[in-house]
């Protein structure tokens, strides 16, 4: 499958609460420090939009953001530019970027022990042409995702497809364990 606009949204811990305004100076500082080896472009503030993208950090290849769309507070990575390799490589790259950003967020003192357990996250593909929200896409995506998840969550996991036809294709991962970002990154690197 040629789709490259993969989104990964990592859920924060259920009890987490974030003052999104605190992300603005944090994201500006990431730009100054050249964090995460991204070509950073800008910070976009959408706190005024109900159920909106929150505060975003715009990069050339993709966007990062902290938002609470659908009532779930989380960190989103949204790939926007073409990516090399096949779907397996793109999947790992998107997840890897989200995890790396998550780790940086967890280390921000101003966010007061924000925690990303790593047990709940959503993969979506923002491409209605190459990955329509249908069974064909699920058959193309799910096997590779399961292969990866087997390595990330040896304790088991569940996959749930979000089948609102109007929305982009999305699969929600609910793992039996909460390994935390660090462990997930290590497992991903080894996968």
């Amino acid at each position: 499958m040629d789709a490259y606009r993969l989104n990964v949204k990592l859920d924060f811990a259920a009890e987490a609460a974030v003052d999104l305004g605190r992300l603005i100076p944090i994201f500006h500082r990431w730009i100054q420090e050249g964090r995460l080896a991204e070509l950073w472009i800008d910070v976009a503030d959408y706190r005024h939009v109900p159920d909106g993208p929150g505060v975003m950090l715009i990069a050339h290849e993709g966007h990062f953001g902290v938002e609470a769309v659908g009532g779930r507070l989380g960190l989103l990575y949204a790939r926007k530019r073409p990516a090399g390799g096949g779907f397996p490589q793109r999947l790992r790259a998107a997840l890897g970027k989200a995890l790396a950003a998550g780790r940086c967020l967890e280390r921000e003192a101003a966010l007061e022990d924000l925690n990303l357990p790593g047990d709940r996250w959503t993969l979506s593909i923002q491409d209605r042409l190459l990955a329509p929200n249908d069974e064909t896409t699920r058959r193309a995506v799910e096997p590779e995702l399961r292969r990866l998840l087997d390595r990330l969550y040896p304790g088991g996991f569940e996959l749930h497809r979000q089948d609102d036809a109007a929305e982009c294709f999305a699969l929600r991962v609910e793992a039996g364990e909460a390994p935390g970002i660090n462990a997930l990154r290590q497992r991903l690197a080894a996968a």
């Binding site: 472009i41 976009a44 159920d51 966007h63 190459l130 109007a166």
Partner: protein, 791 residues
């Protein structure tokens, strides 16, 4: 899974002319990547398709500690002067008079989440905008929009921009008549019209149903049309005839740095004269408007320079000289008498060159759109009453719901904070509009969306649907509904954060909304990021535009306070700036102004009248202490702007593209002919020999037409006519002769034209392509020779 492209997927679903138009644009993109098209020509070409630049697209960004270079993968490849190819841009999507269908909303939503940042933004001219869009994504964006009847053509650049119209047209009890079909007619007529391709700046048109409300803000438009009947409503004609429909026609309005109020060109233009008079105005603007000094190129300067009487005389004269066009009346909603000038030659412009994008093909593409009529989906009913309605609903309904002229139906305004909604919200709104609103919504210049024809019985259900989607914010059209341009968020010209300020003000005012005095609840606050007035601050009760000041060696964001503006009476008066206040003190300034008004207004006195009575000097004195800037050590927050943690700077200001690039009609057409030659080469490579040869001939013909039209603007597209007139005016006069090769290149055209049904082999096609290239070069040289200033 079968891999397809959007072009394949939408095959047959786009009007052929539109599909071809997008292919032309894609070819231009490829030519630009190969460095075969001039920066300015490509920039203007993409601007005319709504593909805009954004802040930092020159590859530099102040990050608060210093200027950072943005090292894009495409390196130095540009998409315009000082605009890097890979830098994200803004896509403007024209929505004529704001009418957007559910299908269209859904496609805009899909595009927002797939290629943008998930937000669709409604502008102060009833457009949608998507930000952070890569130029490579724009052709498919155009295809997907075209498949649902939207063209981005002429959304930006030196063209007729989106035609705006009152969102209440057709349902307002104060309107003279429904202007919607006339706005549609003029939009379709001028889109791609040859007489609207050679402007020095943009041209904005609006349609109002009445004179007394804000309506469509006729006074601040290049061409403002206010519906009238003759005799006026309530009077009867001596002969008892049906009132004639027409427009009070204003011309020469505009905001920008120095606003001009439009002048009355004609107190009554009958509807059947609407299109030809507009065309005549376009021709005069194209011919006489300033093109070198971009800062004085809007039509308002031309009208001011000539005076309205002389301008009027020129319009009348031009109108009389226009070749007859049956579309003047065919596009109107009612049968109109045929023009008495039927003996005149009908203009047939059916080619597809860059400059003369014939209105014909575009008009046909939008026939279904023009025929669509807004209509209720359900039976009328009164609004529900009673104490069992939720308090939230009542608060919302008080500001966001108004009864239409048609009893039992209501217009519901969806208040969008800063004009933004998410993709998911847009889809849900589309579903709600289908269920209750006939599947249509209207964008407003206050950056909201309006659903009309909602039965009173359905308003509560609609409210619940909106509330579930985060779209039920009350306060539409009130003091909490603050208009702001994109400002420093994304605009290269932004000086201060208009959106940051608007968001902060709205939040504070909304928190106090229960205690706000009635006198101030309906005040209009509008914020522009700079003096160019995209936030329409001049016509606000309280307006602001971004400026910068220095303190202790630091730059400090400020806003000029603008008072005295009038929103009603179709933007009846412009405010004046009365002093700059640090951005972080603006909320206190607003509180002080409104408190002053509440405390000292006379019964029934408007804010504008209050300002006039009290005097700006007195008001300025009341704000004086707020103009001071604390030292950086005392309060560093003053040295960064709302919603931005960086130390404030104006180093990121760039060259705006709002002014477009001045590319003459001739230059555009010659660029198009070069594109044809390129296509001929591609055809030759694919082995399509005959097609290659014929395309090369058409390229020469196009170039010859471009050169000849520089003197004969009404030249048609008939090849025989083009070649004949070219021969007379440029060959026989030796003006096209090359100083060394003489008539050689002109003869290429004559020879190719003289061949009847030519057959090509590869060698002949290749030769024809080379001849075409040489002919085009000669055309450039001819144009350059004849436009050079005298030695």
């Amino acid at each position: 899974m079968t891999e397809v492209t959007w072009k394949q997927r939408l095959e047959g679903r786009l009007p052929r002319s539109i599909a071809r138009e997008i292919e032309i644009y894609e070819t231009q993109m490829e030519l630009k990547r190969q460095g075969k098209i001039d920066d300015k020509v490509f920039a203007e070409s993409r601007l005319r398709r709504g593909v805009y630049g954004q802040r930092y697209d020159n590859g530099r960004r102040q990050d608060g500690t210093g200027t950072r270079t943005l090292e894009y993968p495409s390196g130095e490849l540009t998409k315009g002067p000082n605009t890097l190819w890979d830098a994200p841009g803004m896509q403007r999507i024209k929505i004529p008079f704001g009418e957007v269908t559910a299908d269209q909303l859904e496609v805009i939503a899909a595009l927002a989440e797939e290629i943008s940042d998930g937000i669709a933004h409604v502008t102060t001219r009833q457009d949608f905008q998507l930000h952070f869009v890569h130029v490579d994504d724009t052709p498919d964006l155009m295809r997907r929009l075209a498949a649902v009847g939207i063209t981005t053509r002429e959304a930006c650049g030196n063209s007729v921009r989106n035609v705006t119209g009152c969102p209440l047209s057709g349902i307002c009890s104060d309107e003279a008549f429904d202007v919607t079909p006339y706005a549609k007619a003029l939009s379709a007529f001028l889109l791609g019209h040859p007489d609207a391709q050679d402007f020095g700046r943009k041209f904005k048109i609006s349609f109002s149903g009445c004179a007394q409300h804000a309506c469509a803000l006729a006074h601040l438009h290049d061409l403002g049309l206010v519906a009238r009947t003759s005799p006026p409503a309530g009077e009867s004609s001596p002969a008892g005839d049906r009132p004639q429909r027409g427009f009070e026609l204003y011309v020469g309005g505009g905001l920008g740095a120095v606003p001009h109020e439009a002048k009355v060109l004609d107190p009554f233009v009958p509807v059947e004269e609407l299109l030809p008079v507009a065309q005549a105005i376009c021709r005069i603007f194209g011919r006489l408007g300033e093109k070198r000094n971009r800062g004085r190129a809007r039509i308002k300067f031309l009208v001011a320079k000539l005076g309205i009487d002389e301008f009027r005389r020129l319009v009348v004269e031009e109108r009389a000289s226009l070749p007859f066009d049956p579309r003047w009346t065919e596009l109107l909603p009612e049968p109109a008498a045929a023009s008495p000038a039927a003996a005149e030659r009908v203009v047939e412009r059916v080619a597809e060159p860059e400059t003369a994008l014939a209105a014909g093909p575009f008009v046909e593409a939008y026939d279904a759109w023009r025929a669509r009529r807004d209509a209720p989906a359900r039976e009328p009913a009164p609004l529900p009453g009673g104490d069992d309605l939720p308090a939230d609903f009542k608060i919302w309904a008080e500001t966001n719901v108004r009864e239409q002229r048609q009893k039992g139906y209501f217009a519901v305004t969806v208040h969008l904070p800063l004009g933004d909604l998410t993709s998911r919200q847009a889809r849900r709104l589309a579903a709600l509009s289908r269920r209750w609103g006939g599947g249509v919504a209207r964008a407003t210049v206050e950056q909201n969306l309006m659903l009309r024809w909602i039965s009173g019985a359905d308003v509560a259900g609609l409210y619940r649907g909106l509330a579930a989607s985060g779209l039920a914010s009350p306060g539409a059209g009130t003091i909490v509904d603050i208009t702001a341009c994109p400002g420093t968020d994304t605009c290269k010209l932004g000086i201060s954060s208009s959106r940051g300020l608007a968001s902060e003000l709205s939040r504070r005012l909304a928190a106090r909304s229960f205690e706000l005095d009635e006198a101030i609840k309906d005040l209009r606050i509008k914020v522009s990021g700079c003096f160019n007035s995209c936030g329409q601050h001049h016509v606000a009760d309280i307006g602001f535009y971004g400026v910068s000041r220095k303190a202790g060696g630091h730059a400090v964001p400020h806003f000029q306070v603008v008072l005295g503006g009038q929103w009603t009476d179709n933007a009846g008066a412009y405010g004046l700036a009365m002093g700059a206040v640090p951005s972080k003190n603006i909320p206190r300034a607003v509180a002080r102004l409104t408190d002053h008004f509440v405390a000292e207004r006379r019964p029934g006195e408007s804010f504008q009248s209050f300002v006039r009575r009290v005097g700006k000097a007195a008001i300025k004195a009341r704000l004086e202490d707020l103009t001071g800037i604390p030292s950086h050590a005392e309060d560093a927050s003053f040295y960064s702007d709302w919603g931005d943690a960086r130390e404030y700077t104006i180093a990121d200001l760039g060259v705006g593209e709002c002014a477009g690039e001045v590319v003459s009609a001739v230059d555009f057409a010659l660029a198009a002919s070069e594109r044809r030659v390129f296509e001929a080469q591609v055809a030759l490579e694919r082995g399509e020999i005959d097609a290659a040869g014929r395309q090369a001939y058409r390229a020469m013909l196009q170039a010859a037409g471009a050169v000849t039209r520089s003197e004969m603007p009404d030249l048609g597209d008939d090849p025989e006519e083009i070649v004949n007139e070219f021969r007379i005016h440029f060959h026989d006069t030796r003006r096209f002769h090359d100083p060394f090769a003489g008539a050689k290149f002109a003869n290429f055209l004559f020879q190719a034209h003289g061949e009847i049904e030519p057959r090509f082999d590869a060698e002949a096609a290749r030769r024809r392509i080379e001849e075409a290239q040489l002919f085009i070069e000669a055309s450039h040289a001819c144009v350059a020779r004849h436009s050079a200033p005298p030695a």
